[in-house]
Structures are given as structure tokens and as C-alpha cells.
Amino acid sequence: MGRYVIRRLLQAIPVLLGATLLIFAIVFALPGDPIRALAGEKPPSPQVVEVLREQYHLNDPLLLQYWYYISGVLFRGDFGTTFQNVPVGDLMKATFPTTLQLALTALMIQAVIGVGLGLWAALRRGKAEDTMILASTLILISVPTLVSGFVLQLLLGVKLGLFPIAGTSEGWYSFLLPGFVLAGGSIAYLTRLTRTSLVETLRSDYIRTAVAKGMNRRRVVGRHGLRNALIPLVTFLGADLGNLMGGAVITERIFNINGVGSLLIRGVYERQQPIVVGVVTALVLVYILANLVVDLMYAVLDPRIRYE
């Protein structure tokens, strides 16, 4: 177990550095002068330019610039500053909890609906319910967030008045609809995964033994089947947290939620590269960490992994 954990941690380091370097390089390796862009119409004096270049390490080679940036992020939580000298870290601190709440709501919704539907489909395999559930997952996967977001906002928010249309003023309740929209495709994947996993588990020998012992169906499915089928589901849910945080950009824009995605879009519109790089870097860190935790959890849940 210990060796597995250490190996997995060591593997994460090059991925983390590589991914953040890639992001940094895409945005900052461009021809063109960020100081010029910063100054706008009026060209600044050469002395000012020189001081600014020195301050932002623009005279150093790219790898060194990257090192200044990533060491600041990892060791001091410093994501640099915007062109107006506002720390990007502070902007993210104000918006991150909102996005996390949205992503967690989506995760919960998808766990309840996805596992529920998958369980139902698996137990009624080959029957009408199964076919209908599978067909509806196809539709869930196919309708982009962009479409489901606006349509549900109009139908459930405006026409029926069941949910708030925008913003987060009503606490958890206002996250329900955006959470469902964000979870959309993942609900479908989770349903299919639950169904496949459970169908496979229910075929195994120990289930047959349990049935042969005369154990009742509820206990066989719940205790023996579901518990073992759960392993791939937990890993999917964990890995999906990072995806949901990244995918929240669109949902947040549709429902006017002031999260990290909205901050990212603001950075894109205002051409504030430090915001863009900061937000994407932070989200990628979350993504990598979520995957790491899932892999470690996998080893805890499934003893077969540890002894590899």
C-alpha cells in the first residue's frame, strides 16, 4: 500500500508540472509585448517599460519565467496579479467556493439520479424500463449544456416558476437547477456505468452462492451486488469533480453565477492573461488532485490493486 501511494504521488508530479507549463507556454510564449498591451494607446517611456519588464521577469527565458510563476503558485499560493495590480489569488478566493458548491451539487444530483436509474435498469435488464432508461441516457448525453441550460431555465424557471432563474441569492436551492444542467451528460454516463457494473457483478459466483443459500433478493442486491459494483462508480464520481469544475464555465454564464468560470470569461473578454492562466492553472490542479485522491481511494476500496 505504502509503495503504491508513493509511486502514484511521484507520477503526479511530472504531469502537474507538464500541464501547468503547457498552459503557461500557450499564453505567454506568444510574440507580442504584454507591456505594450498594458499601456494602451500612449507608449510608455523606455524607463517605465524596463522597470515593468524586470518586475514581471519578461527578460528571462520562458522556463525561468514559468519557474517564478509555478513556485509562487505552489509554495505561496500566489497566482500573480492582474494588469490593475489586483492579486488573481484574491479574485479566485472570492469565486472558488461558489463553483465548488455548484460542482458538488451537480455531483450529488448525478450520484442520486445516475445510480438510481442504473440500478433500476440493471434489475430490469432487457425489459421495457431498461430500454427506456438507455434511450433517455442517449438524449441526456446528446443535449449540450448550452441547450439544456436555456431550455430548463425557460421552462422550470420562467414558465413554471419552480426555480430561481439566475444568481445564487437563494442559497442551496438556487444551485439545484444549474447543478442538474451541469450534471446532465455525467448522469447518463453514471447510469450506464452503474448498469454495466451491476449486471456484471450480479453474474459472479458469490452472488449465485448467496442466492443459493436462500438469501432474500434485497439483501443479495444491496449487500453483495451493489457494494462491489460501487467501486468503479466512486472513481467515476471523484474524477468527474474536476471535469464539473471546468465545465461550470458555461453553466455559470447561463445562470449568471459569479463563480470561477465567470472570472475566467471576464479574463478572456478583458484580455487579462494573468486571470486566464491563473484560473485554468487552479482548475487543472484541482483536476489532478481529484484524480490522485480517486486513485488512492481505489487502492483502499479494492485490495487487488495494492498488491500489484
Binding site: 504531469v15 507538464g18 498552459i23 500557450i26 431550455v151 471546468g246 458555461i250 486566464v276
Partner: protein, 304 residues
């Protein structure tokens, strides 16, 4: 491909053809299955109509999509303007039809690029193994750590105004998506590589390129085709998302994502200019994903 002597019998050939006694190949077997699937027929018809729309939009609408008149903005649907007019008074029906081309072009080109780049690298990595494989595989892990839409947003926002917006969308999506095809191709080639017919071909003196393209490729192609079909739908949705966020297709080009973005401000009192492109977008994505699902079921004998 069915007559290729080099390709080994891949499936038992459940459906023997009457006129020859050769066992059916994986492909003709799959084709036999597909033609009988309603999901395949429906998606094929939908895609056919969409392709026609992309190639020849004036067949569906004679109204100029760029002829706009502010005085009739958000006009309700009428006989000449089936879907009504949008915020700038342009005909929504005509714009929705004309947008199909950009979506299809972006979807198809991205899919082809991703399949070729990811597929080639995947095959090379699996074939040469050792260092080549290690380096390429580590590289894909780095790309995998960046959630797709974020990475594409990053690239598209950085290079916008510098190259053509449609080209930029294709490049942004390709850069982030090739690793998936890489993994699938790599896994398929590794499985095929050690089979007897490959060893035999190698013993007969076949060179690397002959081994790869004549023997390994036909046997590793099926999973790549499946994932590419599904990806086509995913890329079309991604294009719409990028355009909606303002870093994809730019006006005066037309795209469903852009139409949704434009209609957004007045959506709550004039929903139709948003709903129509949204419906077309969803149906297009559905058609490709449904096709991918059907092709997977037909090509994967294990699921039978």
C-alpha cells in the same frame, strides 16, 4: 477490405452470405447488422439531411441569412419567415440552415485531424514500444490533465484575431483531443501486435510500414472509427460552446453557438431565436452520437 488476404478471420461470421462460402469479415458483418438497426437508419437519414444542408443551404432557404432589418427585430414566425426574426431582424430559419456548414466543417475536420494525429502517434508508440512509447504516453498524460473545454478556451482566446476563427476552433479542439484517439489506437495495436499473423508477416520479411499499415491498421481501426463518430458530435457541441463563450466562430460567420449567444440577452421575452438553433444543434449532436453507439454495437462482437 473484406477480400484482404492478410487480414485474419476476426469474427465467426454469423451471417454467411449465400453466394460465396467465405466467412463474412468484421466489416460486412457489421454492415449487415447496422442496416437492420432503427437507430442507425434514423441517424443516417438525419446526417444525410444535415450534409445536404451544409453543402447546399439555398436548397432549404432562399432568404439571405445576412439580410437584416432592425425595424422587424424579434418578429414572430410568419409564412415567409418560418422561425421568425432575431434581435437584429435577421431571418432565424435561414441563419439556422446556413449555420450547419460551419458546424459540419469544424466537426469533420477536427475529427479527421484527431483521428490521423492520435492514430498515427498511437500506432507508432505501440509498434516501437520502449522509449518512443514512454515519451508519447507521458505526453498524453499531460494533455489529459487539462479538461477539454478549458484547454480549448485557453488556446482559442490566446490566438483569436490572429488566425481565421474557424481554423482556430479546429486547432484548439484538435490539440486537446488527440490523446484520446492515441490511447485507443495504442491499446488496439498492442493487442494486435503479438498475434500470429503479425509474427508470421514479420518472419516473412515485412518492413515496419507494411506491418503497420497493411496488417495492424485494419485490425485496430474499429475502435478508432467508433470513437471518431461519437467525437464528431462532441466536437460540434464544443464548437457551439466556444462560440457561445465568444472565442469560437466570429460574426459575420454564422454558427449555432453564436446565434444562441446573440439571442441570449432577450431570451426570456423572445426565446424562439435561441430555441431553433439549439434544437438543430441538439439533433445534430444526437445523430452523430447515436450513429457512434450503433456502430460500436455492430463492431464489438463481445457485446453480442
Amino acid at each position: 477490405m473484406s477480400s484482404s488476404v492478410a487480414s485474419p478471420p476476426q469474427s465467426g461470421g454469423r451471417h454467411q452470405k449465400k453466394q460465396n462460402d467465405k466467412p463474412a469479415s468484421l466489416w460486412s458483418d457489421a454492415w449487415y447488422d447496422l442496416r437492420r438497426k432503427p437507430a442507425f437508419v434514423i441517424s443516417a437519414i438525419l446526417i444525410g439531411v444535415l450534409l445536404l444542408m451544409a453543402i447546399w443551404p439555398t436548397l432549404f432557404s432562399s432568404v439571405d441569412p445576412r439580410a437584416c432589418d432592425l425595424s422587424v427585430a424579434r418578429q414572430a414566425p410568419s409564412a415567409g419567415h418560418l422561425f421568425g426574426r432575431d434581435n437584429l431582424g435577421c431571418d432565424v430559419y435561414s441563419r439556422t440552415i446556413h449555420a450547419a456548414r460551419n458546424s459540419i466543417v469544424i466537426g469533420v475536420l477536427t475529427t479527421v485531424l484527431v483521428a490521423v494525429i492520435g492514430g498515427l502517434l498511437g500506432m507508432v508508440a505501440a509498434f516501437y514500444a520502449s522509449m518512443t512509447d514512454t515519451v508519447l504516453s507521458r505526453l498524453t498524460e499531460i494533455f489529459f490533465a487539462i479538461p477539454g473545454i478549458l484547454g480549448a478556451l485557453l488556446i482559442a482566446s490566446t490566438f483569436r484575431d490572429q488566425i481565421n476563427s474557424i481554423l482556430l476552433v479546429i486547432v484548439s479542439l484538435t490539440v486537446l483531443s488527440w490523446p484520446m484517439t492515441f490511447r485507443i489506437m495504442r491499446a488496439a495495436v498492442i493487442t494486435a501486435k503479438n498475434q500470429d499473423f503479425v509474427v508470421a508477416a514479420r518472419a516473412l520479411g515485412a518492413g515496419p510500414s507494411r506491418l503497420m499499415f497493411r496488417h495492424l491498421l485494419p485490425n485496430a481501426l474499429a475502435p478508432v472509427i467508433v470513437v471518431s463518430t461519437i467525437n464528431l458530435g462532441v466536437f460540434i457541441a464544443a464548437e457551439a460552446a466556444l462560440s457561445f463563450l465568444g472565442v469560437g466562430v466570429q460574426s459575420p460567420d454564422i454558427s449555432w453557438g453564436l446565434m444562441i449567444s446573440d439571442a441570449r440577452d432577450r431570451f426570456l421575452d423572445a426565446p424562439l431565436p435561441l430555441i431553433f438553433p439549439a434544437v438543430f444543434l441538439s439533433i445534430t449532436v444526437l445523430a452523430f452520437i447515436m450513429l457512434g453507439d450503433a456502430v460500436r454495437d455492430a463492431l464489438d462482437p463481445k457485446l453480442r
